[in-house]
């Protein structure tokens, strides 16, 4: 066996290789038209995998966007979402629903 040097210094942000989405048994689905864009879900997510971004026309299914929908809206990265349900539990307008995901 080759005698490899062991480094105690690791590269930053390397846990991104772990797709923890495989832990999930329920998936949070956000209704972007009900959502008021308060970003609370993005703030409390322990994974930090909810990012606020501009809503796309396709997400609105061709409907005309109301002013509240021109705000930044959450986007969940299902590669990492563990399905804990914190966002669903805390959502002020109940825009997030958990659906079975296994």
């Amino acid at each position: 066996m080759k005698n490899e040097k062991v480094s105690l210094i690791t590269k930053p942000n390397t846990t991104l290789a772990n797709k923890t989405g495989a832990w999930r048994t329920a998936k949070p689905m956000t209704d972007l038209l009900t959502c008021i864009g308060c970003s609370l879900c993005a703030k409390i997510c322990p994974e930090g995998c909810i990012v606020m971004g501009e809503i796309s026309e396709s997400a609105a299914n061709g409907k005309k966007l109301k002013p509240k929908n021109k705000k930044l809206k959450p986007k969940t990265d299902y590669n990492y979402c563990k399905g804990c349900g914190l966002c669903t539990h805390e959502c002020l307008v109940k825009a997030i629903k958990m659906i079975k995901d296994y």
Binding site: S7, T10, K11, P12, N13, T14, T15, L16, A17, N18, K19, T20, W23, R24, S39, L40, A42, K43, I44, C45, P46, E47, G48, C49, V51, M52, G53, E54, L72, K75, D77, N79, Y80, K82, G83, C84, G85, L86, T88, H89, E90
Partner: protein
């Protein structure tokens, strides 16, 4: 796509439990930090779950040495920054309640005694969550842990919580604050404020622990809010020893403590007379911290 809150200081993919209250708080802390930070981390859940070798979830310079010496490591980093003439970089310590209230207390005392410009953040889960929920100096009265189990002859932990804020204030720490996972913006604001202070600062954050408190995956934030609403863990802020803000304002109406306790498995065994004892602790908080 415009991203307003992408956090590169603490990446996903870490091994914390789904719904972890500590990682939720850590994300809020990271939003309060900037690029000119070096973190010294004590042993604990935060360290173990984010740095399974050879990976790291951190996007800032981050070092872990031992359970007890995060404060001393931070002092060393600060000394070397001083030697290099670096005045811009700030040192932050992160530790759990085990590393803060019990194991690291001596070295923390030394750091504060020297008056060093270091921000110390304690993630208070009220037990040694990482090693299997043993009681710590922070475990509150009546909590069932693996070393203080409840039973026919036991109420769980018979000791009260150590008053770490008072210990910090006794050292003359410039900025001392307490907050909970239920208030992410409050955490971020307090971290920003602490960083702007010249001198030692201490922030203690109540972090609900899913297996430790025996709560559901989606309850960590709710518990953090409930602890404040029942006055058992108020939001506090001290500057130069003076209480400058508190969630226990004039006209504050405390919710019954049972609301907070009955949702947690660790307090499920408590009878009404035990709960009324804990109500008294909440009242003592109101008397002590009202503003």
């Amino acid at each position: 796509m415009k991203n307003s809150n992408e956090n590169k200081f603490l990446s996903p993919g870490h091994n914390a439990c789904a719904g972890c209250g500590q990682l939720s708080a850590a994300q809020a802390v990271m939003r309060g930090l900037n690029e000119n930070i070096i973190i010294a981390n004590a042993t604990g859940c935060l360290e173990v779950t984010t740095t399974a070798y050879p990976q790291s979830a951190w996007g800032l310079p981050w070092i872990h040495s031992l359970f007890e010496n995060a404060a001393a490591v931070a002092s060393g980093i600060l000394a070397s920054l001083k030697q290099k003439g670096d005045k811009k970089t700030k040192v932050v310590v992160q530790a759990g309640d085990g590393g803060t209230f019990d194991i690291g207390l001596g070295l923390i005392s030394g750091m504060w005694e020297r008056g060093e410009n270091i921000l110390y953040i304690c993630y208070d889960t009220e037990a040694y969550s990482n090693t299997g929920i043993q009681a710590s100096g922070s475990t509150p009265y009546g909590a069932s842990t693996t070393t203080t189990p409840d039973g026919s002859a036991s109420i769980g932990s018979t000791q009260g919580k150590k008053d770490m804020l008072a210990i910090a204030l006794a050292h003359g720490v410039k900025y001392v604050a307490q907050t909970t996972t239920g208030f992410p913006d409050d955490i971020t604001n307090k971290v920003k404020k602490a960083l702007s202070v010249e001198g030692p600062s201490y922030i203690q954050i109540l972090c609900p622990c899913i297996p430790g408190w025996k709560i559901n995956n989606d309850q960590a934030v709710m518990m953090g809010k409930s602890a404040v609403q029942t006055a058992l863990y108020p939001l506090l802020e001290y500057s130069d020893g003076q209480l400058i803000s508190s969630s226990l304002k004039k006209g504050f109406q405390a919710r019954p403590a049972g609301e907070y306790l009955k949702n947690q498995g660790r307090f499920k065994h408590l009878k009404d007379k035990d709960i009324s004892l804990i109500e008294k602790l909440a009242q003592a908080n109101i008397d002590k911290y009202k503003i």
